[in-house]
């Protein structure tokens, strides 16, 4: 009985905590536009996460992309060139100009919401 009670308490706490994580615990970000959403969909369909990380999620063969847009040494042009041509490790995916724009738009959105990466801590 005691074991079932402990399990029940833990489970109820888990449900409560999950509900909070799904709502107030993660409400800091702005909402994506439809083009940014499309960019995110392309990111998943081409499995970009296999080589690149966003907020620490993803592989290590390619560079981290969370702040690629605002990075002074990389920026939008760097991302655009790689998306349009590929690189030594990255195949050319022959993306259309609209797809490239959507991906760039999505990366801009991610960058704008990467508060913990920015030194001013906003």
């Amino acid at each position: 009985m005691q074991k079932l009670l402990i399990f029940a308490i833990l489970f109820i706490t888990y449900i409560t905590y999950s509900s909070w994580v799904y709502t107030r615990g993660t409400d800091r970000a702005s909402i994506m536009t439809s083009n940014q959403e499309w960019g995110k969909q392309i990111y998943q369909e081409y499995n970009c996460q296999s080589c690149h990380q966003l907020f620490g999620l993803g592989g290590y063969l390619g560079p981290e992309l969370t702040t690629v847009i605002s990075d002074k040494n990389r920026g939008e042009l760097y991302a655009r060139i790689l998306l349009e041509n590929g690189a030594i490790r990255m195949p050319n995916f022959h993306l259309s100009p609209k797809q490239v724009n959507a991906l760039i738009d999505y990366l801009k959105y991610v960058d704008a919401n990467a508060f913990t990466y920015k030194t001013d801590g906003k």
């Binding site: 833990l10 706490t13 888990y14 615990g25 970000a29 296999s50 999620l57 030594i88 990467a114």
Partner: protein, 449 residues
């Protein structure tokens, strides 16, 4: 009493070992791509190789854990498996998923999230297969949770929480989650972190059963201490995912809870295994020696990974280690060094019940097993070295190209040792695979399944 033959169990073991062999082959090819950047870039890029490797290796863990449960539940419950038809359907769906996912990855059909990169509709089949497995487990065991040993709790928890977390991992399909990057990433880490906890519950449950079988001491899995650690493990499964999200700008409370809970899961198992070793030497020093030896090596891997776990869980250290290969070293150390070795102890124990105790403990096996562990240690150290080197490169503000050039010697060691890990597991598992292939389907008069 011997563990009786289980045809579904044998099927799952064979699927598991085959998945591991193929998955490791893709892992080795992926390692080569780190050293030779243009290698298979157009035909089989890393974008395809990584999910193939990850999916197949995770499939090894789940199928081997499922196989062990199918073997053990008639033994622990004293009843026949509830439905062989459901078990056959489970196998069939598992095979369909395997072929579908692997073919899709080859063809470049993705659409899912990291670790579950396949299109989300395939998850419906995974859920269906899992429910069939759960029905067979719960109806066969009919667990009375007031009295059952801790491994029944562990298996039940693993079964329940895999179902919950695989559903949770699909929440991104809803706009409320998909449109908000912080929520999306946090929930993804949450679901995947707890899913790892669910498969650990399945693996650890089998490891606890193996210990009881080796020692013959039933009290170790019914003690207050065993249950204390089980509940601590469950707490980790539920709340410890957050150490991955320190850099995600979610609420501060998520990080605080994660840090407070910290990663004690491996410590828990180390403690249980330590107790088991003491019991083993007291009670039964000559039975199932090979399984005992494998568990002892897993214990060493637990201690090594515990050090890494602490480094990942402490925010000040996590600040540097996150996003480096130290995280990969932890993942490799736990999936190969701990999960794979614990599952191997189950596979060996059951195989030796069929062919006779000690029959697999040959000089060939011994040499292969040591070769595997040395290769894994070099592989693991190369990843840790890569992580440290990356931390220095980031601190020095090196470009990505400069950093990759500095990491190159580590890539070479990682790639070669990775191939040796593949060969080591091939050598170790081949006699086990042959045993199941030869005897796992043979008729047995007292087969309860």
């Amino acid at each position: 009493m011997k563990i009786s033959k289980s045809i579904p169990g044998t099927w799952f073991f064979l699927i598991a070992i085959s998945s591991l062999f193929i998955g490791l082959l893709f892992g080795a090819l992926g390692g080569i791509q780190y050293v030779f950047p243009g290698f298979l870039k157009e035909a089989l890029s890393f974008q395809k190789i990584r999910p193939l490797h990850v999916y197949l290796v995770i499939n090894w863990i789940f199928c081997a854990a499922a196989g062990a449960v199918y073997y053990y539940i008639p033994y622990v419950s004293g009843r026949k498996l509830y439905s062989t038809h459901l078990a056959k359907l489970h196998i069939l769906i598992q095979l369909i998923i395997l072929v579908w996912v692997v073919t899709g990855f080859f063809m470049g059909r993705f659409g899912g999230r990291e670790y579950l990169e396949f299109p989300p509709y395939i998850v419906l089949l995974i859920i269906l297969a899992w429910i069939l497995f759960m029905i067979n487990f719960f109806v066969t065991v009919k667990p009375s949770f007031k009295e059952v040993p801790v491994y029944i709790w562990s298996w039940s928890t693993g079964l329940l929480f895999f179902l919950i977390t695989i559903c949770e991992a699909q929440l991104w399909l809803l706009p409320h989650f998909n449109n908000n990057i912080i929520r999306d990433i946090t929930v993804q880490w949450k679901a995947m972190g707890s899913m790892v906890g669910s498969w650990n519950m399945l693996v650890y449950g089998s490891a606890m059963f193996v210990m009881e079988k080796i020692t013959g001491d039933k009290s170790i899995n019914r003690s207050k201490k065993a249950f204390f650690f089980y509940f601590l493990g469950l707490t980790n499964l539920l709340f410890n995912w957050g150490h991955h999200t320190y850099i995600v700008p979610s609420s501060e409370l998520v990080r605080t809870i994660s840090y407070t809970i910290s990663m004690t899961e491996l410590l828990i198992l180390a403690n249980i295994i330590y107790s088991f070793r003491k019991t083993y030497f007291k009670t039964n020093p000559h039975k199932h020696f090979l399984s005992f030896r494998i568990v002892t090596y897993a214990e060493a891997w637990i201690l090594l990974n515990l050090i890494l776990s602490i480094s990942i869980s402490v925010p000040a250290i996590n600040f540097y280690t996150h996003g480096t290969h130290i995280t990969v070293a932890h993942a490799m150390g736990t999936t190969i060094g701990i999960n794979t070795l614990l599952l191997l102890s189950s596979l060996v124990l059951i195989a030796e019940e069929m062919i006779g105790d000690g029959k697999l403990f040959t000089p060939y096996f011994n040499r292969s097993f040591i070769f595997l562990n040395i290769s894994l240690l070099v592989f693991w150290l190369s990843l840790v070295g890569m992580g440290i080197c990356k931390i220095i490169a980031v601190h020095e503000k090196n470009s990505f190209t400069e950093m990759m050039a500095k990491l190159y010697p580590y890539f070479q060691v990682f790639s070669i040792s990775g191939i040796f890990v593949f060969l080591g597991l091939l050598l170790v598992l081949m006699p086990v695979f042959k045993t199941y292939l030869k005897l796992g389907f043979a008729k047995q008069s007292s087969d309860p399944s």
